[in-house]
Symmetry: C2
Subunit: 207 residues, 2 copies
DNA sequence: TAGATTGTTAATCGATTAACAATC
DNA sequence: TAGATTGTTAATCGATTAACAATC
């Protein structure tokens, strides 16, 4: 099993389960989850089975316990701290975003080189990058959101890694070159739009 | 070949090529591109070959022509229009974002149900959702960015599809249920962070 | 020419599915 | 019990890699 792909599927199952729970359902079956997620029923059962999640032979899966097991699997019982670097358009939107609490995450600090931006008042303190190491140590941070301009992304990412960060959610539209032990997830809006357009185009293209 | 995965790789090659071009290089080789992207040299050559992109047996690939061919492949020579729906935190950041032009995309309109938000002045006009169909027809829009709150995402997405949208870049943290012909790309910040944390956690977990 | 690199065909590997046994 | 569903083992399928031929 390609673990990366499998983990993505597990996250997808969880989103579907939240939806079903929200609709007031208590239990579900591999075929219902399949309908919600587009993943085949066998594969769903196999994924669950491989992570030690068991259903009832005839009664399907209990939604609440499924969600609990997934939460456990993703280590979401204990709160995890993140930092944000860069207070531009996207950075500002990300500080104001309210969803962290709900996912048991906590944004403990924001960093920006611009002193003017550091005077802005958010629910999260804004520091100069010089304080990064201190914050990383104090709050045991291993993951950072990188939302700086393209031209400084590589340099800043490198600085983050030097100061103890080992996972980066990168919003800058560049391929970061970092030591092999560092994990990077890229969010690139243009690339996502482009891929949508490509697939739509191909589909509607005359033979 | 899983076309979805292959297309993602091609986009990745392009990002690497832009970096190399930026560094002043004129040509490259499958092994250099491999170093930049983490994809094996054979697979890179195979990908190019399958899309009819040819190198020189001994001289590698010309970066500019490679970029041209990829641009052509992704249909990026002709401008494509998109709309944005939802002017919340993320929506506001996305209107202000400057990268569309560069990718030969054009945001032609923003939609929000809140009349107060419609008075805000951006470089893009803000309308009520009632005008959606008109804009879609006038500007031949097939892709929309959805940045509305979670509770209204499903309903709004459905409305978009009813009015001619067939590709959605979804920022709302929900699994959208839409007709099979509609393509959805999800951008979910919490899920990305969570996956980073999972992989870091697994890696550092004691045996 | 020798060496380096592309491009392709065959082999391998891993992920998904089919078949079916287990059981509630 | 019969029927429905899970969970697993074996088969298939597709994607990646290995091997190598082509050629600049």
């Amino acid at each position: 099993m390609n673990n990366l792909v499998q983990i993505k599927r597990l996250q997808r199952y969880r989103m579907a389960l939240l939806r079903l729970k929200n609709m007031g359902l208590k239990k579900t079956f591999s075929h219902s989850l399949s309908e919600e997620t587009g993943v085949s029923p066998v594969l769903i059962r196999k994924d669950f089975s491989q992570f030690g999640i068991r259903g009832k032979r005839r009664g399907g899966y209990d939604i609440d316990s499924l969600l609990d097991e997934l939460k456990l699997l993703f280590g979401r019982e204990k709160e995890q701290n993140v930092v944000l670097v860069g207070l531009g358009n996207i950075g500002a939107a990300l500080v104001k975003y309210e969803g962290y609490r709900q996912s048991n995450m906590n944004m403990v600090a924001v960093f920006d080189i611009d002193p003017v931006k550091r005077t802005r008042r958010y629910s999260v303190p804004v520091y100069s990058l010089e304080s990064l190491r201190e914050v990383v140590n104090a709050f045991d941070v291993s993951v950072a959101i990188l939302a700086v301009p393209e031209f400084s992304a590589q340099e800043t990412a490198h600085y983050l890694v030097e100061n103890g960060i080992s996972g980066i959610l990168n919003f800058a539209p560049v391929l970061l070159k970092l030591p092999g032990h560092v994990l990077v997830n890229n969010i690139n809006i243009m690339i996502e739009l482009e891929r949508l357009m490509y697939h739509i185009g191909v589909r509607t293209k005359p033979i």
